[in-house]
């Protein structure tokens, strides 16, 4: 089992941005049109790297002291970078505003990844941040700073290194699948995996035994060379897709996770145990990919 790189000694060595510089037509943007531009900054003060304020939901009851814990979510994150400025602070401010400018109406198409470079060769990325303010902090002629506030609607820091697990099993002509394997999830935030299933299989079910979530059964017998891809990331186009038939979400069972695709890996349990159930013919292969995420650095 690997060790979480953020539990090994490190420091933050730099901050840089990658820009999504899209041209768009209608409501759809081709990923190939996304070009990344790097803008390095040297901040002296960064705040907003820790745990953002959670929305904690409580239920109160008649004549009851305190409250029940119902659940929580992490809505967004603000990161503030203070950068020193020499010379004309107004000119620098205008230059930064031009660099990070965006049309608020289409901010999802003109936004940035904020990346933290760590000394242990890890890059943590805050996806699709937008600049919300630039304020000046003047401390005499030799102490001029600009504070840049970025809003990250997706509050997780993602390790940019993709994680992958491949599980493969060959049974007989027709065999009942009931197999388990572990996904070595790390970090402090949940990760939404993409699961690729290759092989002929009927009534496929994918379960996370730790979070008690299940996608399936898939009321469909797949064909040889057919690849089923289950995309659970809410920031992508979630769905169950076939390389032959297209979107096959309508063939998936109607439990909560199948309908919502709210299927994730939770590092709080350590490695998450995945269980595959179904009826297969020959070899069945499951490739799971995900990005470890962090609630704070």
């Amino acid at each position: 089992m690997e060790t979480d790189p953020l539990l090994m000694p490190f420091t933050i060595t730099g901050v840089f941005f990658t820009k999504y510089n899209n041209t768009y037509s209608g409501f759809y943007v081709e990923p190939a049109e996304q070009t990344k531009l790097r803008h390095y900054l040297k901040p002296v003060l960064i705040s907003g790297l820790g745990i953002p304020q959670p929305n904690v939901r409580m239920l109160e009851s008649y004549r009851m002291d305190g409250a029940y814990f119902s659940g929580l979510n992490i809505p967004s994150r603000s990161v503030i970078l203070s950068i020193p400025v020499t010379g004309d602070v107004q000119a620098k401010r205008a230059e930064l505003f031009r660099t990070f400018s965006h049309d608020p109406a289409i901010s999802r198409y003109t936004c940035y990844d904020l990346n933290l470079e760590l000394s242990n060769n890890v890059i943590l990325s805050l996806h699709k941040v937008v600049l919300v303010s630039i304020t000046e902090e003047l401390h005499g002629p030799r102490g001029q700073f600009l504070a840049l506030t970025f809003l990250a609607s997706d509050p997780w820091f993602y390790n940019t290194t993709v994680r992958q697990n491949t599980w493969e099993h060959t049974g007989g002509f027709q065999w009942d699948v009931d197999q388990e394997f572990d996904l070595d999830i790390m970090g402090t935030g949940i990760a939404y995996p993409t699961i690729e299933v290759t092989g002929v299989v009927y009534l496929l079910r994918v379960l996370n035994m730790h979070t008690h979530q299940e996608i399936g059964p898939l009321y469909l017998q797949t064909m040889e060379d057919e690849v089923i891809t289950i995309v659970t990331d809410p920031l992508q186009e979630r769905g169950v897709f076939s390389n032959i038939r297209g979107n096959i979400i309508s063939h998936v069972g109607s439990n909560y996770e199948s309908a919502s695709l709210d299927f994730y890996l939770d590092p709080g349990f350590g490695a998450n145990r995945i269980r595959i159930i179904g009826t297969a013919y020959g070899t069945l292969r499951v490739v799971t990919t995900w990005y470890d995420s962090y609630l704070g650095v």
């Binding site: 979480d4 953020l6 539990l7 090994m8 000694p9 490190f10 420091t11 933050i12 901040p43 002296v44 003060l45 960064i46 705040s47 907003g48 790297l49 820790g50 745990i51 953002p52 304020q53 959670p54 904690v56 409580m58 009851s61 008649y62 004549r63 009851m64 002291d65 305190g66 409250a67 029940y68 814990f69 929580l72 992490i74 000394s119 402090t188 935030g189 949940i190 939770d266 709080g268 349990f269 609630l295 704070g296 650095v297």
Partner: protein, 279 residues
């Protein structure tokens, strides 16, 4: 310890997944508020055009705690690892945790249950200041607002029992467990002669080998076997409690245990923790 002076020194935190972390001085949490009486919710009853109202009842709101978490690393690399450990410890995604703390000059350990981070936990990275030190202001909420002390347990006899409770400053919410076989179990607690007793009445038969568990703090009733069970409508689970001496009646709880049928093996156990509004 990193600092001395005012504040209460936290001994340990037990996470929702059962891991206990003890602050060792290189990491330290000092509470700045949260040990006194928490906010109260008063339900007033008033009549139209009448100049006064009267208090119908009062409950405590979840307890707010504020504190300061300090982290000292061997070097600038080590402090980042410790920051990660602390962010994991207070990660609200892992669910509410249990807070165990002690005054430095006393042996008593007090517990808070269902504590969760309710504000941002952030320590600005200042590259110009001491890179081996990080400090986080913390805002926590204890969904159960009471402080809990020592645990106690006693077995009740069939019939009349007297239970005197000396410690605590708030009503104690016990866990009452009854081991079968028993049918139509009734437990009452009479504190004042002029007021109706608190009642717990379990319908039906609890067979031998099974038990019914009534958790007055969680307001839940369950059976060890997982079978369904219900309290009768006359039960007062929401208010059933044990009175400590500081609340009156000299802390005397007059408890009766009765049933329509009971056999060998039947036993009632009451478990409670000393409970405090403030410490």
């Amino acid at each position: 310890m990193l600092t001395e002076g005012h504040g209460i020194y936290l001994v340990s935190i037990t996470t929702a997944r059962g891991v206990t972390y003890t602050f060792d001085g290189k990491t330290q949490l000092t509470l700045t508020a949260g040990t006194a009486l928490p906010d109260t919710r008063v339900t007033n009853s008033a009549k139209p055009l009448q100049n006064y109202s009267y208090v119908e009842y009062r409950t405590l709101a979840p307890r707010k705690l504020t504190g300061r978490l300090q982290v000292k690393g061997r070097d600038q690399f080590d402090v980042w690892v410790k920051r990660q450990e602390m962010l994991r410890l207070f990660n609200p995604l892992y669910g509410p945790f249990t807070f165990n703390l002690a005054y430095p000059d006393k042996n008593d350990v007090f517990h808070l249950y269902n504590v969760i981070l309710t504000d941002a936990m952030d320590s600005p990275l200042n590259v110009k200041s001491d890179p081996t030190y990080a400090e986080f202001p913390l805002t926590l909420t204890a969904l159960d607002p009471f402080w809990y002390g020592a645990s106690h347990s006693t077995t009740l006899d069939i019939g009349y029992n007297e239970l005197t409770i000396a410690e605590g400053t708030a009503w104690l919410k016990p866990i009452v467990s009854a081991q079968g076989p028993v049918t139509d179990l009734t437990i009452t607690n009479t504190i004042w002669d002029y007021e109706a007793p608190f009642i717990l009445h379990v319908y039906g038969t609890i067979p031998a080998g099974d038990a019914v568990i009534i958790d007055c703090r969680q307001r839940s009733v369950s059976r060890a076997s997982g079978a369904l069970v219900a309290l009768s409508h006359e039960s007062t689970l929401a208010s059933f409690g044990l009175i400590p001496a500081s609340m009156g009646a000299k802390g005397l709880n007059r408890i009766t245990v009765s049933s329509s049928d009971m056999n060998e093996g039947f036993q009632v156990t009451v478990d409670w923790q000393d409970t405090y509004y403030a410490i």
